[in-house]
Every structure is written in structure tokens, then in C-alpha cells.
């Protein structure tokens, strides 16, 4: 028995994403954002996308490449304060934005990846985020139903990977990557370093390759991945 090789060129992996797809994107600010995969998505001119991402990056980078060029129909997110562009697009009705509490976005994605249809929570109960949410009573307590999120595609940024798609992450570049890497029909991961099979110790794997469909080694770490000098 041996484990299969899922390495794949970025252009090829991204080519299979149809217009209209729902796409989860890892990252919280710069760390963990798969800038290379996002650039390829923009280059291939995919349209009518629904994005699920913690934030909207900063103007001119990351998912803003897709938002600014009108390729995004809908965004499920927690905070877009660093992207004036995205806020304007939302205010002018050019994109539809659904806000989630940050930990509940993580849990909805995790539930999707764990094959659980929904979870119950009291988070946001007395805020406007509860508007329209189904309420159920459990043991006399009112709880909100938060449905699981799954996507057609997840775009993941990993630090190290092997050809089977086992992934490991660096520092705060984890954020939404591990839960999203479980929650899509097709999971595409870019990795800074590709190790041979067995090069990642089995105790060190954070996302088992079983969840990953395409592993795209990165040709270079471009400037967008670097320290932002504000």
C-alpha cells in the first residue's frame, strides 16, 4: 500500500472551479491567506462567486482582487474594516454581505467539515446577528440554530505539505485554514514547502491528506506574503 500523489499545478487545480462556485478562503489578515491561488482565480476570470472568508484582506490584495473587479456576488465574513473597497461595494449593493460572529463562522465551517448539519448556540442572541435565525428550546433554554457551511472549493495556505496533501501550518497563519480544509467538496492547498512522502512526521500533520484533493507547491513567496509596512 502507498498513498497517492495529489500534487497539481495551480492553474490546473483552479481551472476546475466553475463560475458561480462557493469558495472558502483561509487567512486572517495576511497570514494564511492563499494569495497565489487567489491571483490564479482572478487570472482565470471566475465570476459570480460566493466567498466565505474571515475578512476581505486590504484594498488591492487577496480577495479584493476579486471583489474590486466585480467577480464576487456574495461574501460571508466577520469583519471587513481594512478594505474600504469592500465596504463601499457592500454599501452600494454591488455585493451582498452576511456577517457572522468570528467564532461562530469558525464553528459553522467546522460543522460542515465534521458532517454535522448544524449547531446550537447563544452567541449573538440579543444582537442583530440573531435576526431571522431559527430558535429551539433545549432543556428549557432558548438557543439559535447555526447551520453548517460547506463550499464547492476551499483555498488553503499551508506552510509545509507532502504529496498526499498532509498539511502543517505556521504560527497565526492557521486561523481558518484547518477548519476550511475539511469543509469543501474540493480542497485545494498551496504550500510554501513540499516535502517528500514521509517528510512530514505523522504526529506533525495538522490537516490529514484525506481531506485534501489538490496540493499545489508554490513557485515563490511573493511580496504580498511579507510583512506589511503600514
Amino acid at each position: 500500500m502507498r498513498l497517492s500523489d495529489k500534487t497539481c499545478a495551480m492553474a490546473e487545480a483552479v481551472a476546475a472551479i466553475p463560475d458561480g462556485a462557493t469558495v472558502m478562503v483561509g487567512g486572517f489578515g495576511v497570514p494564511g491567506t492563499p494569495f497565489a491561488l487567489l491571483a490564479e482565480l482572478a487570472r482565470q476570470d471566475k465570476r459570480e462567486l460566493t466567498l466565505i472568508k474571515n475578512d476581505a484582506n486590504e484594498t488591492g490584495t487577496g480577495v479584493d482582487l476579486l471583489i474590486a473587479s466585480g467577480r464576487v456576488r456574495r461574501l460571508i465574513t466577520t469583519h471587513i474594516g481594512l478594505n474600504a473597497n469592500a465596504i463601499a461595494a457592500m454599501n452600494e449593493g454591488r455585493i451582498e454581505v452576511e456577517f457572522c460572529a468570528q467564532g461562530i463562522l469558525a464553528e459553522r465551517v467546522r460543522a460542515g467539515g465534521a458532517g454535522l448539519p448544524a449547531l446550537l448556540t447563544d452567541i449573538g442572541m440579543q444582537t442583530e446577528l440573531s435576526a431571522g435565525k431559527q430558535i429551539v428550546q433545549v432543556d428549557g433554554r432558548c438557543l439559535m440554530v447555526e447551520t453548517a457551511l460547506r463550499a464547492d472549493v476551499a483555498l488553503i495556505h499551508a506552510d509545509r505539505a507532502d504529496p498526499f496533501g498532509n498539511l502543517a501550518y505556521r504560527a497565526t497563519a492557521r486561523n481558518f485554514n484547518p477548519p476550511m480544509a475539511m469543509a469543501a467538496t474540493t480542497v485545494i492547498a498551496e504550500a510554501e514547502v513540499l516535502l517528500p512522502l514521509g517528510g512530514l512526521a505523522p504526529d506533525e500533520v495538522e490537516t490529514p491528506g484525506v481531506f485534501v484533493d489538490h496540493l499545489c507547491p508554490m513557485a515563490e513567496i511573493t511580496e504580498e506574503y511579507g510583512v506589511v509596512r503600514r
Binding site: M1, R2, L3, G113, P163, F164, G198, P202, P208, F211
Partner: protein, 227 residues
């Protein structure tokens, strides 16, 4: 059994043939969970170059052959308690992640044992009221959520009673879950019409299979291949 044991590909005994035939159910690249007992023996029919990822629900993907005690790692077992070996690219994870994989559609195939299988695909394999009730472990999720669920079992129990039935009488593991059954006598599919015979074991006649099956057995047109 040791990692380097050589197993004949066409075993002479009926159980060995059943296991060898079931092994051919595994397509290259699949993620597969082999249930405790007979299904685990399928490992011996998967060559060193065959691309497959074996999952064990206690938290490993990329399970290799079992190891004798003197070579065992005390921290590395499968769900049946056997000491297993790692293959390059394997990974370990906790029980929550292990079943996340099962429930979210990443497990292509599971092979389970059975007490009873019904013609509608119902499976009973975890409890015999008053006699055997150790708990279902991971069987319910494996049976309910693997993309393909096949059963490997002797065709009849020790008393000669058919395990393939119109309806299960024992508590269910999962309803309508089973798609194919490998026995010492035959390969049988669960179809909308009920049990449908696909293959007979060497030296076993269609009549014998029909006789040993506790529900109507549909015969497709044409010859029934032998395994």
C-alpha cells in the same frame, strides 16, 4: 501476522477466497475503513504499490500491515487493538477529526461484519439483546456515512441460519446502508428489487446460494461469474 508474510492471492479455503474477492472491491486511490475481524484480513491482498489509504477510526490514516508484539509501538494500534505499522505519509488525529472524516464524505468505502443484512440494505451488527451488548463503537457512523458500505460475512451463522434476510430482527446499526455483500458463497448486491446475485464462489451453485439466503434472490440475465 508480520509485515513481510506472503499470502497466496487465490486461497484454497472459502473464507480466504471471500477475503481475496472483497479486496478487489477497493479501487486505486480510495480511502477505506476495514471493520474489526474478517475485513481486516483484506490488507494482506493489497500489494506494496497499490495506492490506497486505510483509515482506522481511533485516529490514523495510512495504516500499514500489523506488526508482531516485539516490533510494536505501544502507542500505535488500530480500532481492533492490533498493533499496526505506519506507511510513509500517514497521519494521526483525534477521535473528533477521525469521525469528521467519516461523516463529511471523505471515507470512500467501509467493509463491515454483520449479524444480519436485510434485502433493503438494513444492517444489524452490534447487539444481540440479552446476549451481546458491548455498545456500537464507531459502527453506526461508518455504516451510515461511508460513501460505499459493503459487508463481509459468512453466508450463514454457526447454526446454519441465513444472515441475509427479508428484514433484520436484531437492533439496527444503520437503515438501508449496505450496497454489497461478500460471503463465502457469493457476491450479492442490494438493489431496489432486493438481493441480486452477482458472483458465486468456486464450486458453489446458484441453487445453493438461493437455498442459503433468507430472502428472494434475484438472478440477472446471463452467466453468473465465479470467484
Amino acid at each position: 501476522m508480520s509485515a513481510d508474510k506472503i499470502v497466496p492471492l487465490k486461497p484454497a479455503d472459502p473464507r480466504g477466497r471471500m477475503v481475496a474477492r472483497a479486496a478487489r472491491e477497493i479501487a486505486p486511490g480510495m480511502v477505506v475503513n476495514l471493520g474489526i475481524g474478517l475485513p481486516t484480513q483484506v490488507v494482506d491482498h493489497l500489494g506494496p504499490d497499490f495506492p490506497v489509504c486505510l483509515h482506522t477510526e481511533n485516529g490514523m490514516a495510512g495504516v500499514g500491515p500489523t506488526l508482531p508484539h516485539e516490533l510494536a509501538d505501544r502507542n500505535l494500534i488500530d480500532a481492533g487493538g492490533a498493533y499496526v505499522s505506519p506507511i510513509p505519509g500517514c497521519s494521526y488525529f483525534d477521535s473528533a477529526t477521525s469521525f469528521a472524516l467519516v461523516r463529511s464524505g471523505r471515507l470512500d468505502l467501509t467493509m463491515l461484519g454483520a449479524f444480519e443484512v436485510a434485502e433493503n440494505g438494513d444492517l444489524a451488527n452490534w447487539k444481540i439483546p440479552g446476549r451481546f451488548s458491548p455498545g456500537a463503537g464507531g459502527a453506526i457512523e461508518l455504516a451510515q456515512k461511508a460513501l460505499r458500505v459493503v459487508v463481509m460475512t459468512t453466508h450463514c451463522d454457526r447454526k446454519g441460519n441465513p444472515k441475509l434476510k427479508r428484514r433484520c430482527t436484531l437492533p439496527l446499526t444503520a437503515a438501508g446502508a449496505v450496497m454489497r455483500i461478500f460471503t463465502d458463497l457469493a457476491v450479492i448486491d442490494v438493489t431496489p428489487a432486493g438481493f441480486t446475485l452477482r458472483e458465486c464462489a468456486q464450486g458453489v451453485s446458484v441453487a445453493e446460494v438461493t437455498e442459503a439466503t433468507g430472502a428472494p434472490l434475484h438472478l440477472p440475465e446471463g452467466d453468473i461469474p465465479t470467484f
